[in-house]
Symmetry: C2
Subunit: 244 residues, 2 copies
Amino acid sequence: MKYELFYWPGLQGRGEFVRLAFEEAGVPYVDIALVPGEGGGADAIMRVLDDPKLARPPFAPPWLRVGKQLISQTANILLYLGPRLGLAPPDAAGRTWAHQLQLTIADFVDEAHDTHHPVGSSLYYEEQKREARRATHFFLKDRVPKFLGYFEHVIERNRGRGPWMIGSSITYVDLSMAQVVAGLRYAFPKAMRGEMRKYPRLARLHRAVLARPRIRKYVKSGRQVPFNTTGIFRHYPELDRPVR
Amino acid sequence: MKYELFYWPGLQGRGEFVRLAFEEAGVPYVDIALVPGEGGGADAIMRVLDDPKLARPPFAPPWLRVGKQLISQTANILLYLGPRLGLAPPDAAGRTWAHQLQLTIADFVDEAHDTHHPVGSSLYYEEQKREARRATHFFLKDRVPKFLGYFEHVIERNRGRGPWMIGSSITYVDLSMAQVVAGLRYAFPKAMRGEMRKYPRLARLHRAVLARPRIRKYVKSGRQVPFNTTGIFRHYPELDRPVR
């Protein structure tokens, strides 16, 4: 089966949650962002978005092309890929739980994005800096502790062995969770320095994901785009303040 | 199988998307919001949220209790219920497509919510009115046309008969889509009056859902909470302006 991932070039964004699953599984995939010429990059994405004849058009990247099927929405892509990549629990209830956690991560990711775009995604950050400062204050003070406290508790309640969120084996949810921790640390280094001490299990999960041989290889490969200020997690020094 | 829906009393909120599926299917369910005494209402929800021993705790309502399993996240609940209520496509690719649409609806619903809470959900609307006015302007001008234009196109591309989004039978996605149209019309009557003329297929879908015998019965039952300013869709006259 040939897997093709469509996502904008030049940023990690939501595509990275899918890339990490392929990389950890060691399953080959075509990253359209890295394909040169007309068959790749933003052109390839726009060609699909502008195609008026697609029976089941995606709303926005990322999407996965598998044969003729296009699968969009990050959590939906991972729901589909999880069992196929060996990164989902074996039982139906476990898979529903994994998807539930992934959707909660997606909610948190949306809120992290909205810190720099509280007024609207059709405006630049520079056009909503004032509102972004206020939104980020409450995100760091109220939402980060609520979400991270919840995820820490999920790991604590997991009866499996190891640092993972579900059972005793790594799943795509762990990869996404580690990506969120990494993103928060990049965007808010001052705020997260003290904050992460409250979540030792999440910190351990993050280290465990980074220590996976295939993830290490991916990070060193030069293929991973560094975090930058076009993605979901953005470092704007004026927004990063220690949480009181 | 006994189905119990846990959601806050007094508002439609995200619980309504699940209620509409049960109502259309004619499948009995316990709406915990309507159960009097300690076993129901907000108390019953808080008891679950405050239970430190749950192996798989939900982050927030709504959730569904089926036996010992708790299933949370609105789209995840509908993914689970869809086939069981006869409200999902029969094939795997169709179910993935339905879920993808539901997640896109969920994104739109989040943005509709954020019009009155752009700074943060831990503050009251009154504490972020200024930002809400600016956010709503761009929501109505840029996001409503983008999302509704997309959903209109999905109906147009559907090769099935009838007014539906997928195939020739109603699915849970149609119920949710109609709920969003209803919510937008309640929240922004001035803005939506002209805007909805651009989306005749969505308007038809909305009418078709309201004409379903069991949905009519539900709307007239007195059990459906009216839209109000504690839900996702809120009517604040100062935010509702015709779209230019």
